[in-house]
């Protein structure tokens, strides 16, 4: 079920009413409702996916119970391996089987051997990378004795399948989320209103900015050989806004929805495009995944301790794995490698933590140095996004070649202008500009409009919310699935 559909608009109020008015006296019943609602939400795509979700939950629940009882290091390690094999095995099969098979065939044909194995028509279950990582994190925390195991399967299933964040995160930590399922929830007016406000902003980002940008990004990327440099820059810009608003919009809706049920999810985005260096960007982009890799992969590998060679190895591992997590395609690996290359100089010079606070904190405008940092970081990110969006490596490289090769031709700028005039119109550019301004003004808050209108009188504040709602319906682009569902 997609958040921005009529199905969800019917589903959410029903679950809300049942949650607060029917099951509210019994915590276990309330958690059971969450499980049932979440399975319905997930099964809406394809009911067969539910088997995987249940299996993953069941295995990790059992592993957790045994980890809680077991003290022998060798047995504990074996239990951890069971969870790793099951979760990564499922992920490997559904997500990477055909990729490895194809590369295997290509490698053989390179050496003159023709192999024709059967590729499988595998449907990638939505969100498998997200819930697999969430349950894996739970088992690893248990293994490190940072957590007590869940004793109730319903509570654990509710934690794994909680519908607001099931299919595209944030990838929650059991240490943060499980305790919330163990205690009685009380309805909090301010929390719920805050949630609705965040949902509204999330819908705006997804339906207005992301879905409109998607149309033009697709148009340009799908026909990149027909366009010159400036139009290709435009395509990369559209994609940059598409992916940010698509994913952070989803996260906003997820966080807001969770608040309606009395839950606080972890923050997933913190204005990444205002980052002044690439280190800051990665602290602000897809935070739940970055910190997951940091805690469960990077630090166990030694993190930033040790020799320069070890540091470089660890950085490359974490970025390449992160790229590969996004999809079975060399373009994602290239995207990861490129980000590792961006990040390395900062880390080796011990400058990767120079910019911790948000840009221009306490000021209206950034300093020239901050502005330059933001522009450079955004430009580097833009180049990396081309790999992320391209169909394959050849497409990415030819896109970059045409883009940089065609920037000096004045006629090419006329083409870009014509593209704007004929295809996009000016409304979307105005909306993107307004969006950037609002994000800048609200950059101290968890989401841009969190505190934006709170000081205003109610009619004015409501008029502001109505305006956003009307703009959403009026300018919503053609409905697109959330990009990150495919990961």
């Amino acid at each position: 079920m997609l958040f921005h559909t009529l199905d969800f608009a019917i589903f959410l109020p029903i679950v809300f009413v049942l949650y607060w008015f029917v099951t509210n006296r019994n915590l276990r019943l309330q958690n059971l409702l969450i499980v049932l609602a979440s399975y319905l939400f997930y099964g809406w795509w394809d009911f067969r996916f539910l088997v995987l979700l249940f299996f993953s939950s069941f295995v990790d629940f059992c592993v957790g119970i045994y980890l809680g009882k077991e003290n022998h290091p060798r047995n504990r390690k074996m239990l951890l391996w069971i969870s790793l094999i099951v979760n990564l095995g499922m992920l490997g099969f559904f997500k990477y089987y055909n990729f490895f098979l194809q590369n295997f065939v290509d490698a053989f044909s390179f050496f003159g051997k023709k192999v024709e194995p059967d590729s499988l028509k595998i449907i990638l279950p939505v969100g498998i990378s997200f819930y697999s990582f969430q349950t894996l994190g739970y088992v690893m925390d248990l293994y490190r004795r940072k957590l007590e195991p869940a004793r109730d399967f319903i509570t654990f299933s509710a934690f794994v399948s909680f519908f607001p964040q099931l299919v595209a995160g944030p990838i929650e930590r059991a240490t943060h989320m499980l305790p919330q399922f163990h205690v009685k929830r009380y309805f909090n007016h301010d929390q719920a209103v805050n949630g609705l406000r965040q949902m509204l902003w999330g819908f705006f980002k997804k339906m207005v900015i992301a879905d409109n940008c998607a149309i033009y990004a697709n148009m340009i990327f799908d026909n990149s050989s027909s366009y010159a440099g400036p139009t290709l820059v435009l395509g990369a810009l559209f994609f940059a806004f598409q992916i940010y608003c698509d994913f952070s919009g989803y996260s906003d809706i997820a966080l807001g929805t969770a608040r309606l049920f009395g839950f606080e999810l972890m923050r997933n985005f913190a204005y990444p495009y205002f980052s002044r260096d690439i280190g800051e960007f990665w602290r602000r982009w897809h935070i739940s995944l970055s910190t997951w890799f940091r805690d469960y992969v990077y630090i166990p590998l030694g993190g930033s301790q040790g020799s320069a060679v070890i540091k470089i190895r660890n950085i490359f591992i974490i970025f390449l794995v992160s790229g590969f997590w996004h999809g079975a395609n060399w373009t994602f690996i290239a995207w990861g490698a490129l980000n590792a290359l961006y990040f390395l100089p900062l880390m080796l010079a011990h400058k990767n933590r120079d910019n911790i606070a948000i840009a221009a904190q306490g000021h209206l405008l950034p300093s020239a140095r901050e502005l330059a940092g933001m522009i450079i970081t955004f430009s580097l990110t833009l180049i990396a996004w081309i790999f992320f969006r391209a169909e394959n490596m050849q497409h990415a490289l030819s896109y970059l070649e045409r883009m940089f090769g065609g920037l000096t031709d004045p006629a090419a700028y006329r083409e870009a202008w014509t593209f704007i005039h004929v295809n996009t119109g000016f409304a979307i550019h105005f909306l993107i500009a307004a969006f950037i301004v609002l994000e800048w003004i609200g950059r101290d808050s968890q989401y841009a409009i969190q505190h934006f209108s709170l000081g205003w009188r109610k009619p004015v504040r409501w008029a502001f919310y109505y305006s956003i709602a009307v703009i959403i319906f009026l300018y919503a682009g053609k409905e697109q699935q959330f990009i990150y569902f495919q990961f």
């Binding site: 559909t5 009529l6 607060w20 309805f187 007016h189 719920a192 209103v193 609705l196 697709n218 148009m219 799908d222 026909n223 027909s226 004929v422 409501w462 919310y465 109505y466 709602a469 009307v470 319906f473 009026l474 919503a476």
Partner: protein
């Protein structure tokens, strides 16, 4: 909780009120002049054109890619081209045309390939616009899935009435060229048979090909067509199904999805005119989208259709005047 629900309901009530105001505002001048309003003229054509007739049912590919005068001269049938836009959805095109079908009519349905995938058959937001602004009572005639799809577009439709630019006359600026919307996609751009002919004197523009269709196949679209055939035949008319003219590069991208449609139509026993391959068109005959032809393209496509009709006629059925 009580305060929260009260406030929420009040907010929603305000929103509904805004929507109701939007719905009640009469259609703007821009809307009334748009090609979607040609529905009124096409309904009248279907009602008043004398027999013997050839009725073309489809989306914009039907209106942009047929030269009805050639059909008339060759087949001695009076053409009625009901095509407006694929965004109205196949189900609406079929259900809406059915009332106008008479005994002896030759009905040719020519749906865009996308009609058989995803939810396209239920119509996009154009449908609610056309219905609400020309015949709101038709909302009650929509099928369940169509209705739910269209209701989701209701807020967008209602709020579009608040766009002030719709009510202002377009100012002619010397340096600024008029867009296609302002020249071609107009109610007055159709000829007396319902063909889009305004663009016949215009230069073609570069058209980016469509990518492959990634949505699920919609069996209901085939079922609706099957049901339509029964109804058409019950009215004493004859139904043929044909394939749209389509840019060859787009055709290559969607080949497997198109084959799936052809296979489904054959398995249901439809009388098919030609095959998809026959109606793919080179880029020089494509006007502004992969489904829209230039005048030369429309002539070629019409000739092909006539040949296929004659072939079908000689092998299947005797149609008066062929």
């Amino acid at each position: 909780m009580k305060t929260f629900l009260q406030q929420l309901l009040l907010f929603i009530a305000g929103f509904v009120l805004l929507m109701a105001i939007g719905v009640l505002i009469p259609a703007s001048r821009t809307a009334r002049e748009s090609f979607l309003f040609s529905k009124i003229d096409k309904d009248s054509l279907l009602k008043n054109t004398p027999s013997p007739r050839i009725v073309l049912v489809g989306g914009s590919n039907t209106s942009f890619s047929i030269n009805s005068q050639i059909l008339k001269d060759s087949l001695h049938l009076n053409p009625v081209n009901t095509g407006i836009s694929g965004a109205l959805g196949l189900l609406y095109m079929l259900d809406h045309s059915l009332d106008g079908i008479r005994p002896g009519d030759v009905v040719i349905v020519c749906p865009e390939y996308t009609q058989f995938y995803g939810d396209a058959a239920y119509g996009e937001d154009y449908l609610i616009r056309v219905i609400m602004e020309t015949a709101p009572g038709e909302m009650l005639k929509l099928r369940g899935k169509q209705l739910s799809t269209q209701l989701a577009f209701l807020p967008r439709y209602a709020f579009s009435k608040f766009k002030l630019t719709q009510y202002l006359p377009r100012e002619e600026s010397p340096g600024q060229e008029a867009t296609l919307d302002e020249i071609v996609y107009k109610r007055v751009a159709f000829n007396q048979y319902g063909d889009m002919s305004r663009h016949w004197t215009m230069e073609k523009i570069d058209v980016a090909p469509y990518a492959r269709i990634d949505q699920r196949f919609n069996e209901q679209a085939i079922d609706a067509l099957y049901e339509y055939r029964k109804q058409v035949e019950a009215r004493g008319a004859k139904l043929f199904v044909t394939f749209p003219a389509f840019q060859d590069e787009s055709f290559a991208n969607q080949r497997s999805q198109i084959s799936r449609i052809e296979h489904s139509l054959k398995s249901k026993g439809f009388t098919l005119l030609g095959n998809p391959e026959r109606y793919k068109m080179p880029d020089e005959l494509i006007f502004d989208t992969p489904y829209h032809l230039t005048k030369a393209g429309a002539q070629i496509r019409t000739q092909l259709l006539i040949e296929d009709l004659r072939k079908a006629n000689s092998s299947e059925i005797a149609l008066k005047g062929f």
